[in-house]
Each structure stands twice: as C-alpha cells, then as structure tokens.
C-alpha cells in the first residue's frame, strides 16, 4: 500500500456505525430466540469445562466448531460482508477455525495434563466475559436489540472460545495452540479496532 503511514483506522471504516448497529439489530430480530439456547449451551459448556476439564474437550470442541461455522456463515458472510467486503475473508477464517476445532477432536486424548490454576482462572474469566458480553453494549447505551451475543456475534464467540480452550487446557501442544488461538485473537483485535474507530 503506497504511503501506508498516512492511513488511520478510520480510513478503513467503510460504513457508518449506525449502519453496523442496524445490521446487528436486524440479524438479532431475524433469529430471535435462537440466542437463548445458544447462551444456555454456552453455560452448559462452561460448567462442563469447569468440572471435567480435559475430559470435556471433545464435546466442547465439536460444539464450538458448530458455533464458529454458524457465526461465519450467518453473520459474517450473509450479512456483514454486505457492508464490509473484507468480512468475507474473516468469514473464511471462521470456517477454518471451525474445521480446526473439529479436527482437533480426532487427536488421542487422556494423555494431556490438567491445566494449571492460572490458566483455568483466566479461562473462566474470559469465557464468562464472552457470555456476559451483551452487558457491555447495554453499559455503553445501546438498546438490547443490538446486543452481541455468544454464538451469534464474532467477538463474544471468540472470547468464550479462548476462555474454554484455556479452561480445558487444550490444545496442549504449542502447535495446536498456535492453530486454535490465532484466529480468535485476530477476531478480537479486529473487533477492538472497529470499536475504537466507532468511539472516535
């Protein structure tokens, strides 16, 4: 990109914040009350991860794979990409994450050590943050209809996923972590950059 240093985050924002929030609102309206079973499934996964840790890995990973595939298709590809052409690439990344999560369940298990208390604490915190993420929007004055909910919107889904991965200590290898952590982290980075641009 020529003269890249002259670009700011706002130069990449190609839609008005109100357009984005109306898109979220319409999406929530179209799929309501799907949010409720998704949140319930999230709570159940959190409880399972908290109580059974490593042994809960397989059903949790499969569930998360489904959620990533859903958010990538229903939100990013079908909707967000209509106002942000770059979202189609993020949707592709979400589908890759779904495949990786599903693929990791094929690994042999029962040989991995339990995660340490630090990782479990941080994981529980992040996963809880992913579930209560809609409260952030309410605190910022946005109406409930524009809530970003786990299993429906990218950022709470990424937060929750990172949290659960830490909580169950999976993947235990550096390569596995690199594969499964990067896309959620990238998603959160993009979300934070967009939010920052909205606020400024």
């Amino acid at each position: 990109m020529p003269e890249w240093w002259t670009y700011t985050l706002s130069d990449f924002l190609m839609y008005a914040p109100r357009t984005y929030w109306r898109l979220v609102e319409n999406y929530n309206r179209d799929f309501w009350p799907l949010h409720l079973p998704l949140l319930a499934a999230g709570l159940a996964a959190l409880w399972l991860a908290h109580t059974r840790a490593v042994r809960a890995w397989r059903p949790i990973a499969l569930g998360l794979a489904g959620v990533w595939a859903w958010v990538g298709w229903a939100f990013l590809w079908q909707r967000y990409a209509t106002i942000n052409w770059a979202a189609q690439y993020v949707a592709l990344a979400f589908s890759v994450q779904a495949v990786l999560l599903a693929g990791m369940t094929l690994r042999p298990r029962h040989t991995d050590p339990q995660p340490g208390p630090g990782a479990r604490g941080a994981g529980a915190l992040l996963a809880t943050a992913g579930l209560v993420y809609p409260l952030l929007g309410l605190a910022l004055g946005r109406p409930p209809g524009q809530a970003e909910v786990f299993g429906m919107a990218p950022e709470p889904t990424a937060l929750f996923t990172l949290g659960l991965l830490l909580l169950v200590g999976q993947p235990s290898t550096r390569t596995g972590q690199a594969l499964l952590f990067y896309i959620p982290l990238l998603c959160l980075l993009l979300g934070a950059a967009t939010g920052w641009t909205f606020l400024n």
């Binding site: 839609y15 008005a16 106002i83």
Partner: protein, 304 residues
C-alpha cells in the same frame, strides 16, 4: 442595487465557464443552478454532485435503502446530476442502481464510477454497470491510481469504442500527488478527482492550476472531511459574510468555498440525510465568493 446584483457579474470574471444552467430562461423563481463546463467537451454539469462513500453503504437494510433513494430523489429534484461511486464502497453501487430504477432516473444521472483492481478491470466495470443498471457509464476513473497504466489504457479504449464518455483518475486525502501530477501531465484525461476543502488546500498549489492549464475537469471529494470539518465548524457562529454569498449554514460555506475555485468543476458531498442533501444542494445556487472573500473564508476557518 443589492450586493447580490453587484457580485453576480464578478462570477464569470473570477470563474470563467461558471454559467447558470438556465441563464437563457426567463426570470426563474429562484436563483438558477450553477453549472461548470467539462473542459474536454463543453458539457455543463451542476457544481454540486453526490458522493456515496459510507453513506450509501447500507447493505440490505430496507429502511436505509429507501432513505438513500429519497436522498437521490431530492438530489435530482434540486437539479443534481453527477453521482459518484466505486467498487470499493461496499453496497453503495447496488443502492444507487436500485434507486435509479425506482426513480426512473437512468437517463438523468451523470454516472461517475471507478475501476479499482490490479487484475481484470473490464470484468469489474461490467459488474459495476449491472449494479447501476445503466447502459454505460458517463465517467470512469482509476481509483487511487491503482494499476493506473493498465486501467487507464482500458478506459481509453472503452472511450474510443463509445462505451464510455469520459476518463479520469482519483486520489484522496492528499496521497500520491506527485504521481497524480505526472499522470495529469502525461496522459489525455477528462477528469481528476481529489480532496480539497477549507482546511486541506494542498491541491491549490499544483494540481488545480495544472487542471486548468491542461483542460481537465475537477471533482472534489471529502469537502467536509467526512463530516469532521462540519462538526468542528458548527461549534462556532456563522460569520456575517456568509449572507453575502447566500449561505445559511456551514455546509454551504464549505461547499461554496470549493466550487468557487475556478479550476473546480463539481464537489461531491455524500449524505444519507435528506435535510443535509437539501442544504448541500442550496450551495449550487446564489452568489459565490470572489477571490478576496475566499481568502477571508480560509483564514477565518483556520483560526477556529
């Protein structure tokens, strides 16, 4: 004699080519819309057009698409012609095309599009044309000089084949001005599009004089710095001299500053708000500032 009557004769002297669209018509009820000629053809276009960056990128939101169509309806009703878009602008092209169809305005619009790819420009242009639902574009511009050697050759060939009326290049926010100038000097183009406003005046140094010298029409983007300039100005009272140029708000002041530059053909503010559209379009009527007042305007705004 009113100040208005005193100022009007000065306009052609300061801005040659600036002609009221209905100058030959009999006493219109309101000031005639101001137009400028495209130097390469002499065709007149109104000095205020309509941009679509961000504002028309509303996706499949039915209510927002309806509002965009209303903005376009009022734009045409106020005498507007030129609408500008780009493949980079998300759903804007489709929103414009849908509104043109709804308003049956395909024959009234001056369609200004862009090619923005380093690969198959012809395929992208055809996709854009289908979004617009027009038989051909009036103007195609190489967006931000991307692959300009390749795409400009394509546009020139399309023009020669009668598939296009005008060819241009664009830049924004003051980027790549030296390369832009080089293209203006070395290529036969009809239009350039660049950023110019009360605060961003770098174009006055070289590009605007060069456009006059080379007979190139100038479209001006970011007249309000994506609204930031107006948000800043609206914290201050409108100066007394605003009434001397028939401005009742800061948007009109900002636009009249731009279109009164003798090299400028058309400014393309973008809005999704019909009220703002009407305010913007009012800047295409009435008196324009002369060189002395333009200087005062720039100095005044720089101090705020």
């Amino acid at each position: 004699m009113r100040r208005r009557d005193l100022l009007l004769p000065l306009i052609p002297a300061f801005a040659p080519g600036l002609v009221p669209a209905s100058a030959l018509a009999q006493s219109p009820p309101q000031p005639s819309i101001l137009t400028r000629p495209i130097p390469s053809s002499g065709e007149q276009i109104p000095v205020i057009g309509l941009g679509s960056w961000i504002t028309f990128n509303v996706g499949n939101d039915t209510a927002a698409r309806t509002q965009s169509a209303e903005v376009m309806r009022q734009f045409f009703a106020a005498g507007g012609k030129l609408i500008d878009s780009s493949p980079m602008y998300g759903s804007s092209q489709g929103v414009i095309g849908e509104a043109l169809q709804k308003l049956q305005a395909q024959s009234r619009v001056f369609s200004a599009e862009k090619v923005w790819t380093s690969s198959d420009g012809a395929a992208q242009i055809e996709a854009s044309r289908k979004f617009w639902q027009v038989p051909r574009f009036d103007l195609l511009q190489v967006h931000n000089l991307l692959a300009w050697e390749k795409q400009l050759a394509l546009l020139q060939a399309m023009k020669a084949a009668g598939q296009l009326r005008y060819v241009g290049i664009t830049t924004s926010e003051g980027r790549r001005h030296s390369e832009f100038e080089q293209v203006m000097r070395s290529q036969r183009i009809d239009f350039v599009q660049l950023s110019y406003n009360l605060l961003d005046r770098e174009a006055e140094q070289r590009l605007l004089p060069l456009a006059r010298e080379r007979g190139i029409a100038v479209l001006v983007n970011r007249p309000f710095r994506e609204g930031a300039l107006l948000r800043q100005l609206q914290r201050h009272p409108l100066p007394g001299w605003a009434t001397e140029i028939d401005c009742s708000n800061w948007a009109q002041v900002a636009l009249k500053f731009i279109v009164s530059h003798p090299a400028v053909t058309c400014a393309i503010p973008a809005t999704s708000n019909p009220v703002h559209l009407r305010e913007n379009m009012a800047a295409s009527r009435g008196r324009l500032p002369d060189a002395a007042l333009r200087q005062r305007m720039a100095e005044h705004v720089a101090r705020l």
